[in-house]
């Protein structure tokens, strides 16, 4: 595939690894904050090639994992309404709420449908005028333009039976929170290339300046990731803290202006709870009051639901680098290494769960 295969070459990868080895003289803790990058690193085993002095930490970069328990429970409550067709991106099906998940709700007869595009959810609403269609609009900034467009389209088509359950999260406030937390060990960031495709990288300049931490916008193919790490290492070794762009074939400083315009029109910033972490100020987007007619939280008045985080949840400590994925208690005790029940996590095979499955010692 064009623009994909060329960035996977073995010669490129080995060359970049050698350059990283030549450059690195100290121990560095760096973080990537994108589920897609975690997956790419684990799938190619890049972490096995990097020198040991680079400690690569995986940040809260999967919108599926960080969707708050309250929001997941709200989704389940809405999906349980008879007469509702609940549409969602595939990843969300397996995410456990306090009591159940969308899979078990589907098994008990609820109409729950996977869509690939937010516009497909709008189509479902057009094709089922006698039902209420709710779309679970989750995602980072990458998905916000798509989710926003579904609202505008529904408005244009005067659909009365379409609404959005919104759980949008933003990366820069999360980076701020991580860097600002006591005990933070992260010294450099690989910024998520597709988030920056939409938003540009201008938002990261004040962060790099404030915390004196280098940030490199990085892509997803093996050579892209290693180029990002190379640039980060070069900066760290010479104590610079600039924002660099290693994914320039799709990322520019300003990002996609039409997309940002639509986001601005449809969404407004809000405080957002991140599952397992807590409330990060201004880290989310919600529908503007003008679009409350399409807000499922308004339409269904899902009041404060009694949430109950399962006690067998995997304890992270990953951000602190105090535990590595294979220290995860799931792999000890009653779950044998050959049968990691549930360790495949929420996304498709080896996606966000990548480091739990791929990272097991052989």
């Amino acid at each position: 595939m064009k623009y994909l295969d060329q960035y996977r070459g073995t010669a490129l990868v080995h060359g970049l690894i050698h350059e990283i080895e030549r450059t690195v003289k100290h121990h560095w803790v760096i973080m990537e904050i994108c589920g897609g990058q975690t997956h790419a690193i684990m799938k190619s085993g890049l972490d096995q090639l990097l020198p040991e002095s680079i400690e690569l930490v995986h940040g809260p970069g999967c919108p599926v994992c960080v969707t708050s328990l309250e929001m997941v429970d709200k989704a389940h409550a809405i999906a349980s309404h008879p007469g509702v067709i609940f549409t969602t991106y595939g990843d969300m099906l397996r995410v456990p709420g306090s009591r159940e998940d969308l899979i078990s709700l589907r098994a008990s007869g609820m109409d729950i449908r996977i869509v690939y595009s937010a516009l497909d959810a709008v189509k479902v609403a057009q094709e089922n005028p006698d039902k209420q269609v709710v779309f679970f609009a989750i995602g980072f900034e990458t998905t916000a333009p798509a989710n926003a467009m579904s609202v505008l389209q529904a408005e244009k088509l005067s659909l009365k039976n379409f609404s959005l359950l919104v759980s949008q999260v933003r990366v820069p406030p999360a980076i701020n929170a991580i860097l600002g937390s006591p005990g933070n060990r992260v010294q450099g960031f690989l910024a998520a290339g597709h988030v920056c495709t939409v938003m540009g990288f201008w938002e990261y300049l004040p962060i790099a300046e404030k915390y004196k931490v280098p940030i490199v916008v990085t892509g997803f193919e093996p050579a892209d990731i290693l180029l990002g790490i190379t640039k980060l290492m070069r900066q760290l070794e010479k104590q610079s803290y600039a924002v660099e762009n290693a994914y320039s074939r799709v990322v520019t400083r300003e990002g996609n202006q039409p997309a940002q315009g639509i986001i601005e029109q449809v969404f407004m910033e809000c405080d957002q709870k991140w599952r397992g972490i807590g409330m990060i100020p201004a880290s989310g987007w919600r529908l503007r009051p003008k679009y409350h007619g399409f807000d499922a939280e308004v339409r269904y008045s899902v009041a404060e639901i009694n949430t109950n985080e399962s006690t067998i949840c995997i304890a992270g400590k990953i951000l602190q680098g105090l535990a590595k994925p294979y220290d995860c208690p799931v792999f000890r005790g009653e779950c044998t290494p050959a049968h990691p029940l549930g360790a495949t996590m929420v996304s498709s095979e080896g996606a966000c769960a990548a480091y739990y499955r791929y990272g097991r010692p052989i």
Binding site: K2, L12, T143, R249
Partner: protein, 79 residues
């Protein structure tokens, strides 16, 4: 958040007031919304996420990046 792949725009058209296009990912084609890349022409490559083209791929930058990566690669590698 990040599963987006490059594809070639092979058709552009309007549906229900939205600017849409057909994208070829190399043996698989799918419709994608082109509203965020109004400057797109057929033959251009775009990065597509969840049925939306998020940006066009800059061929010049793509080649520059490859060049940068392989220049690093071409340095003497001690055996």
């Amino acid at each position: 958040m990040c599963l987006a792949i490059p594809g070639k725009i092979i058709e552009l058209y309007e549906t229900n007031g939205l600017w849409m296009g057909k994208v070829d990912f190399g043996g698989v084609t799918r419709e994608a919304c082109m509203s965020y890349v109004p400057e797109a022409k057929t033959g251009d490559y775009a990065i597509v996420h969840a049925g939306f083209a998020l940006n066009l791929i800059d061929e010049g930058e793509a080649l520059e990046t490859l060049k940068l990566m392989s220049q690093i690669d071409m340095k003497d590698i001690p055996e």
